[in-house]
Symmetry: C2
Subunit: 406 residues, 2 copies
């Protein structure tokens, strides 16, 4: 993607704000607003968790209605999950207030929440925060990078850094911009309820095309990372296209070019989430190739990427390939062990299911001392492949998650 | 089982030895022998890992042949896994030597290995150790508890304690004894390649009856524990019945009584493995009830028991029920969130998918400060249930597994 330049300039036609309404306790920003200057065609994907949070239930109804959106409000500090009927009433109350303050209809508003599960939703604090949001968005320059960063900070929970990226794409109709922001540091940890992503563009797209494109892109980005294998009750990726650029993307060539840029933005955000993974010191790509099916390759990649033993070995910078072999073996995929090769970056470790004759432990350990590396698993059984990103399992992960609420 | 007394008196008709042949390096015992004074009817279950170790491949052939067994040799320190054809040759060499030293036929010998994967099998050291084994078993008293403990210690890897238990059962034919020994501290961690269990009785049983009984018992004991969710290349449970008691168990009543005793022994060993789980400070029972199917109950129990977030919360003594709810939600089972109740021991935490109105955080935290507790999940969707044992995820787990080979 040589014509795509990663930048953090906010996409034209969107305004941002991030304020504190007291949910985080230490005065940190905890309420964000994304405002589109024009009604934006929306696409969204949601968690498949059987305990969906109130904003996920609401968001699904919004998606089904298909009304263009003007505003997205996101709070951190409380997930509005396992809050029952009262949680849905509280959500609708905040929607009413936000619509009234911004002069929009309820149908134009999208809501996300992230934070602790099962606590009553702090509707009073958020209603107060809405006034501050409105003041902030009015005051801020429409294209302010500072306002975008304030919004990205306001959606953080255990994240160490805000996650923003973007790109510009030259289409046959002219230049369009994509800006992405996300939060998530355990992928995907339920108490933090948890991964949220927003992909904003000034291109114009057909709603069904946009939804299908988002689903493909999420499959290849946010669904290809894991920190602890847990799946949240709140995960949401929302994509808005407001057409402010005047570029309507319709031709196959433009759509292909645009989708590549969108995927790059989503992958950058996904990478940032793993890199910021709770306690993580490593980003490892688990790349399975030569599989008889994509499903098989994915099962094996996930078994390796989620193995507590593999992840602690990464942390220990211990080239313990036996743990990788064992995870491949229990993934539930028929394989021929005698054909399996494993490389750590450019070092051949396993050949034909056994330690490669030329392999020296030190060479493998040297790779694992790198902050990022690729574990390539070649099954030599077919043409399919699958790869995903994972982090290591560290003392800090245990500390963060054992002590989170204490 | 009021008539079953748990004891560690070795079962009559078996002799034991545990010696050092230098595999562990610090002079610790690493080679064990179990000798049956009469040919014993054997039953066995093996790992389903797609990278089975050489002794698992050999053991499967032994089971298929169905020859009664006289001797079981087990080494720790090296798993003879991912060692290819050479590993099988090395295994057969040790079988030849052991058969010759003990005056048995090769077909009467069973071999297990546990330890690091992918290192060449130390056949020379083990052949030397066989002489020491033979001397030790000849010198020891046949019914020596000390010899049994030496054998149980010789099969340990990261285990902190040897795992031995037993029971006596009064059948219509007279008294029979069951002695069990096992090793395993990560259930089931591939580098240690890993869980091994031996169930020995002086009862006489039909081979097919014995095999079917073992499979049922393993399903309800060793398959109902998890420390880190990993599955080893070497896991094996072997059951021997040598008939030395003169009691042939044939009636439904006797078989039922005996199976209950066998299950109790297997459960005790499984409990010991979780309690000795790597770095574990807690033993938690995840008990799912009111499920529409046993399969659904098992999926939910495993999702909760294997969740890194649930396990770190147990370590932190943090009654973070939101993580349990989220794990139930992503288990892939259709449930009605609004019917789910969760209890920590006798404390109702969640009612109808929300925090119980009467629940106080301190009451939940008090349960989690106990070394052992039950998390009861009632789906109120049917009559089926499933429960398993899990440990917590601790700093020591990370230390043990990050630094194991360093």
């Amino acid at each position: 993607m040589e014509n795509n330049k990663i930048s953090v300039n906010p996409c034209p036609g969107y305004r941002f704000a991030g304020v504190s309404c007291g949910l985080k306790g230490d005065g940190a920003r905890d309420l964000a607003l994304i405002l589109s200057t024009r009604p934006a065609t929306a696409a969204a994907v949601f968690t498949r968790n059987r305990f969906p949070a109130a904003p996920v239930l609401y968001g699904r109804r919004q998606r089904a209605a298909g009304t263009p959106l003007r505003a997205v409000m996101i709070n951190s500090g409380n997930a509005n999950a396992c809050t029952g009927h009262q949680g849905e009433i509280d959500l609708m109350t905040t929607v009413e207030v936000l619509a009234s303050v911004l002069g929009l209809s309820r149908e134009e508003i999208f809501i996300s929440s992230t934070g602790v599960i099962g606590e009553p939703f702090p509707v009073t604090a958020i209603i107060k925060g809405i006034e501050a949001l409105e003041a902030a968005v009015a005051k801020d320059d429409a294209a302010s990078a500072a306002a975008l960063e304030a919004a990205a900070r306001a959606i953080m929970t255990t994240d160490q850094v805000p996650k923003i990226t973007g790109t510009e794409i030259l289409t046959s109709r002219g230049k369009v911009t994509i800006t992405g922001l996300a939060k998530g540091a355990g992928m995907i940890h339920p108490d933090m309820a948890t991964m949220l992503g927003y992909l904003l563009t000034d291109a114009e797209l057909d709603r069904e095309v946009w939804q299908a494109m988002l689903e493909r892109v999420v499959q290849k980005s946010f669904n290809r990372i894991t920190v602890d294998g847990d799946t949240s009750t709140n995960d949401t990726v929302l994509a808005l296209a407001n057409g402010v650029s005047g570029c309507c993307l319709e031709t196959a060539g433009d759509l292909e070019l645009f989708e590549a840029g969108l995927l790059e933005v989503a992958r950058q955000l996904a990478y940032m989430i793993v890199k910021d993974g709770e306690g993580a010191t490593k980003v490892a790509t688990i790349a399975v190739a030569g599989a008889a099916s994509v499903e098989g390759a994915e099962k094996i990649a996930r078994a390796v990427a989620n193995s507590a033993l593999v992840k602690t070995a990464f942390f220990g910078q211990d080239a313990n390939w036996g743990r990788i072999v064992a995870a491949i073996g229990y993934a539930g995929v028929e394989i021929d062990p005698a054909r399996v090769n494993i490389d750590f970056d450019d070092v051949r470790v396993v050949s034909g299911g056994m330690r490669d004759p030329a392999y020296r432990e030190e060479a493998g350990a040297a790779v694992l001392r790198r902050p990022e590396f690729v574990v390539k698993i070649d099954l030599q059984a077919g043409e399919d492949d699958y790869s995903l990103l994972t982090s290591d399992l560290t003392h800090d992960y245990v500390s963060i998650n054992a002590d989170y609420r204490s």
